[in-house]
């Protein structure tokens, strides 16, 4: 159908110029059209794959939704023995551990990116930059083991007593000091997403024209003021984008979190306490689910994780659009 239209158009255009060879003109554009359809097919293919996955998850988790209804999402109880399943404590675990991770990783990553790009001499920036990138290459399970054998004891013996003494009046820093738990998971995730946020921030800063930095300096800005005006403000939307990618990684991270978070399905105000994330409950229970209902509930948790990621990414996208609108027309 579209091919016909295209043919007609081509012929029409060719007529006034050279009535002798309309056929040839068509052949020239043949490759273009094939390419166009291949791209179109891939684009729809991705959309189709996504829908197929949602459909599959929905189908498998359907029994759980039938059994528990929307209450599934707001029920913190998860008990395979009594057969009561609710996802709220996992949603809570995932969101809070990821937020801790972003809160810790964002300032560190931006600081690292600023230092490496703007302040450090090349001989230092290169090896340190390489080292930071290499953090991303460490397998998740290794992070988990490090968390269990190094980070958790450190938290138990030093950081948690310290936090408890100084900020213990907050419910966040009360309760048993086990080392492993929500705080440990948040810190591990922070380390894991730092290279992502830092290296994208570096790319963003690199793309900011020198002219902005010179304009700021030329107005009598100190180095720090220049970095604030010409680099951080100018690169804000890029930093947000980098943070989204980091957050996305933190939300779905499974292995390392499973090892250090304590895996207990409950909601506790204390960051010292154990917790459970959506990803970690799947890793823990999927292989040995006792009943079909538990399997369906677990799949429903998977679907929820999928939707939460989608939701948070959409919010973040929206923020980036808003920021971009504010900076509209910024020449790069």
């Amino acid at each position: 159908m579209q091919l016909e239209v295209a043919e007609k158009l081509t012929v029409k255009q060719a007529k006034p110029k050279a009535s002798s060879a309309p056929r040839r003109k068509l052949d020239i554009h043949f490759g273009d059209r094939v390419f166009y359809y291949i791209l179109k097919a891939s684009a729809w293919g991705v959309v189709g794959l996504l829908l197929l996955m949602v459909g599959l998850l929905l189908d498998m988790s359907w029994p759980a939704f039938v059994e528990f209804g929307p209450k599934f999402l707001i029920n913190p109880e998860w008990n395979p023995w009594t057969g009561e399943f609710g996802a709220l404590s996992f949603v809570y675990g995932t969101v809070v551990s990821s937020l801790i991770a972003v809160a810790l990783a964002l300032p560190v990553s931006v600081g690292v990116a600023l230092f490496l790009n703007e302040l450090a001499p090349t001989w230092l920036a290169r090896p340190v930059g390489f080292f930071v990138e290499m953090l991303a290459a460490i397998p998740s399970i290794v992070y988990g083991m490090w968390g269990l054998f190094v980070l958790a004891p450190f938290l138990r013996n030093y950081l948690q007593p310290f936090l408890h003494e100084t900020l213990g009046f907050l419910p966040l820093f009360q309760g048993p000091m086990l080392g492993y738990g929500m705080l440990a998971a948040g810190i591990i995730l922070a380390v894991m997403i730092t290279p992502t946020i830092a290296s994208i921030s570096r790319e963003v800063f690199k793309a900011i024209p020198l002219g902005y930095r010179e304009a700021a300096l030329g107005l009598g800005a100190t180095r720090w003021e220049m970095l604030k005006i010409a680099v951080l403000k100018t690169g804000a939307s890029g930093i947000i984008g980098a943070t989204i990618l980091g957050l996305g990684r933190a939300l779905g991270e499974t292995m390392a979190v499973t090892l250090v978070i304590g895996n207990k399905a409950h909601i506790s105000a204390s960051l010292f306490d154990t917790a459970q994330t959506m990803a970690s409950v799947l890793a823990n229970e999927y292989a040995e689910a006792d009943s079909d209902l538990q399997l369906a509930a677990l799949t429903a948790v998977g679907l929820t994780l999928f939707i939460v990621s989608l939701f948070i990414n959409s919010i973040a996208r929206y923020v980036v659009w808003q920021v971009d609108k504010k900076y509209a027309g910024m020449g790069r």
Binding site: Y212, L217, G218, G220, T234, K326
Partner: protein
Amino acid sequence: MTSSTGPILTVENLNAYFGDFHAVKGVNLEVQRNEVVSLIGPSGCGKSTFIRCLNRLHEEVPSANCEGRVLIEGQNIYAENADPVVVRRKVGMVFQKPNPFPGLSIFENVALGLKLAGITKKSVVTEIVEWSLRKSALWDEVKDSLSSPGLSLSGGQQQRLCLARTLAVKPPVILMDEPTSALDPISTAKIEELVMELKQEVTVVIVTHNMQQASRISDKTAFFLMGELMEFDETSALFTNPKNLKTEQYITGRFG
């Protein structure tokens, strides 16, 4: 305010380098108050490097350095205790490419230098912003849209915004590095007009590779070649009666 009668800008034996490359070679120059001085010369002869030494921006390039003395109102900006941040408040700069800050409104762009200088009283800031925008002939065009982004303006308006931003901190000297080379003829004419009006209040050193522009707007003109100052004279004298053979060849279009 030291020696308000002497030259406002004195350059003594200035040499500038990029690593081993000697970009500006032993330049001596004096600029009087309220003069407009043009720097001309073929591309790559060191004009930009030279004026970037006058507000200590040159040293921001990695591996770049310079030596010599530059006196602004009698004070050596390269003296041991001179702070480049303070120097740059006294010597403003307008760049080749208009560069209003992204994310800042028109108002915020102009007010930024004041904020950096610690002037925050709202009434004072508002007054100076209006004054600066009027001085750069932009007020009438933007007075109703002060909160829209600086980057929403046209190229010519952006460059006048950059001029207003520079004027706001009232520097006695303003440097301009080919401020019109990215602009259309009408915007160019506006900037030229502004420069000629501004010299009531400030001293302007302007790089241009347009000799007509130099002869239209400047009192004195300096001709640079391969990092050396070949000739420095009244603009009319330099263009009608050059003393240096190279200058004559350049202005008659035989090279460059």
